[in-house]
């Protein structure tokens, strides 16, 4: 074996990429960004770390509604990733494990194959979804107690563009039972941006900053009504109300939550936004998309619905192995709330157990590494010979 395999979990917001023998992947923003302060250049991927003033950052994303549609943007970012500044090696003559969204469109798949074989000259590829990689990693983590053939599990992938519920029965993805909720990190950030802009100060241009606010302060309420009551009562309001100090990109590089009584230097002169019910009504959309008028059920009901589409013999094990991956699952309180809601929805003789890995963002990548280093990796591989002989059609029958 000459060349190590490259594993690329190509997410809509960040690409998780690395060589299969490395310990961990690099997380690189999968977009091109333009800053108001720096007019001479655009920032590709991790180059954004060189940018000192990230106010009013303008994003150019390769993904639209979760699918790879802007190929020139993607090519620019991939060119960067597979260069000296990125992971430091090219795709030339290497095998690659690459992820695509669930239910990917035919033409997008074709484009990806053509791009990888013709443009980047890969030797072979294994195209799969992040959920499959996560399932594979789950089996690898279980230390031989389960094998891929006997695996029954549900993967909940809370991503940037949407959330997918993907059940696996006997190691195979149950295509008819996949459920999609059109809420992900992007919708949450945009919703929060709107709330802050209407209630406090206009931050409509500040996706980047609001995304940081979201990551810093938002949480999932275990009991939504109860938390709302806390918010409304004058006495208890302090439990959830906070002030967030906004970055000014000279003294404060990154915003932070103000701690009353322990002011940092010059804190009084900084701009602040008071935040209260925004903290929990925003992530609440994952559980009730209908709150802002999206006509879909939330994650718990979608899991129950997906379960109904699976053979009943598998239900018990499916509920025992619910794995949560994806960046937007990192809100504090996400797991207990999901467990509580799900418990109320499924038959009471079945036990519910949720597993949230330590690092839900990179979890799928680790699965890709496991596949790439497994002894029968060659069987999965779709090689250049296959591509030249059969074109894209060979991939459909796999």
């Amino acid at each position: 074996m000459a060349n190590a395999v490259i594993v690329l979990d190509n997410g809509a917001h960040t690409a998780k990429v690395g060589l299969a023998h490395q310990d961990e992947p690099r997380v690189i923003p999968n977009c091109i960004m333009k800053a108001k302060s720096e007019r001479r250049r655009a920032f590709i991927g991790s180059q954004i770390e060189e940018c000192r003033d990230t106010s009013a950052l303008f994003y150019i994303l390769a993904f639209q509604r979760g699918y790879l549609l802007n190929w020139d943007t993607q090519k620019t970012v991939w060119d960067y990733i597979f260069s000296k500044d990125g992971i430091g090696c090219t795709l030339d003559n290497r095998n690659i494990v690459i992820t695509e969204p669930q239910m990917n469109f035919q033409s997008v798949q074709e484009a990806m194959l053509e791009m990888l074989f013709e443009e980047y000259r890969v030797a072979g590829l294994y195209k799969t979804t992040a959920a499959d990689l996560a399932a594979f990693n789950y089996v690898a983590d279980s230390e031989e107690r389960t094998t891929m053939q006997s695996l029954n599990c549900i993967i909940i992938d809370v991503g940037y563009s949407f959330t997918h519920i993907v059940p696996f029965v006997l190691g195979r993805r149950v295509q008819e039972a996949i459920r999609r909720i059109d809420v992900g990190g992007k919708a949450l950030t945009n919703h929060m941006k709107e709330l802050i802009s209407y209630r406090h100060l206009n931050m409509m241009d500040e996706s980047h900053v609001v995304n940081q606010i979201k990551e810093d302060v938002c949480f999932v309420a275990e009991d939504f009504k109860d938390t709302m009551r806390v918010h409304q009562s004058e006495a208890k309001r302090k439990q959830v109300a906070i002030d967030y100090v906004l970055p000014d990109f000279t003294t404060v590089k990154r915003g932070y939550v103000r701690i009353p009584g322990h002011p940092r230097e010059d804190e009084e002169q900084q701009q602040m936004v008071p935040l209260c019910n925004e903290r929990f009504t925003v992530p609440e959309l994952l559980f009730n998309p209908s709150d802002i008028g999206i006509p879909q059920v939330g994650i718990p009901e979608a899991v129950a619905d997906a379960l109904q589409a699976c053979p009943w013999q598998a239900h018990r094990e499916l509920l025992l192995n619910i794995l949560i991956v994806g960046g937007s699952s990192q809100f504090p309180g996400f797991l207990p709330r999901l467990k509580r809601d799900l418990r109320a929805l499924v038959p009471d003789d079945l036990e519910v157990s949720l597993i949230c890995p330590e690092d839900p963002v990179r979890y799928a990548w680790y699965g890709g590494r496991e596949i790439a280093t497994s002894p029968n990796f060659d069987e999965f591989l779709y090689t250049r010979d296959d591509y030249e002989e059969f074109g894209v059609h060979a991939l459909q029958h796999r």
């Binding site: 190929w71 035919q106 053509e114 008819e176 999609r180 945009n190 059920v297 619905d305």
Partner: protein, 150 residues
């Protein structure tokens, strides 16, 4: 016979009420806004980039050799330029993107005040936006109500 009074003022005095179609259109617009990448315009849009400027790369030698084989981003943009709607229409085989969408909720909807975010029991008679108390209604009428009619 029309009077000499201004039509504009006359229209403004009439109390406008949005019909349900207009309300739905607004709601859809609000949802589409959640998909936006950026709210503002490209900050570099007014810059004129000269393509003639040489780009200095370390591997300038390899560049020529590559050109023959590789097709470049232009080619891909031209070949795969379908937008999301077009892709959706092509998709015939089930299960597909549309069949995978989570079902509509069976529970009654919860309503939130558009101004402060609390639970709301009332809706604005003109545009249907929810509010929770008179103070919020006042804010709503001063700032949003029919101010950006879609």
């Amino acid at each position: 016979m029309t009077g000499r009074e201004s039509n504009r003022i006359k229209d403004a005095e009439k109390k406008r009420v949005l019909d349900s179609a207009a309300r739905q259109r607004r709601a859809r617009k609000a949802l589409e806004a959640l998909e936006q990448d950026n709210f503002h315009d490209d900050p570099h849009a007014d810059l004129v980039m000269s393509k003639k400027l040489p780009k200095f790369q370390e591997s300038i030698k390899n560049c020529k050799e590559k050109k023959g084989k590789r097709k470049g981003a232009e080619y891909f943009r031209a070949k795969y330029r379908k937008n999301f709607q077009q892709l959706l229409e092509e998709e015939k085989q089930k299960p597909n993107y549309e069949s995978a969408a989570a079902p509509a909720p069976k529970k009654p909807l919860r309503h939130f005040c558009a101004v402060c975010g609390n639970f709301s029991n009332y809706s604005c008679t003109a545009c249907g936006t929810r509010y929770c108390r008179v103070r919020c209604l006042q804010t709503h009428q001063d700032t949003r109500c029919l101010k950006w009619t879609a």
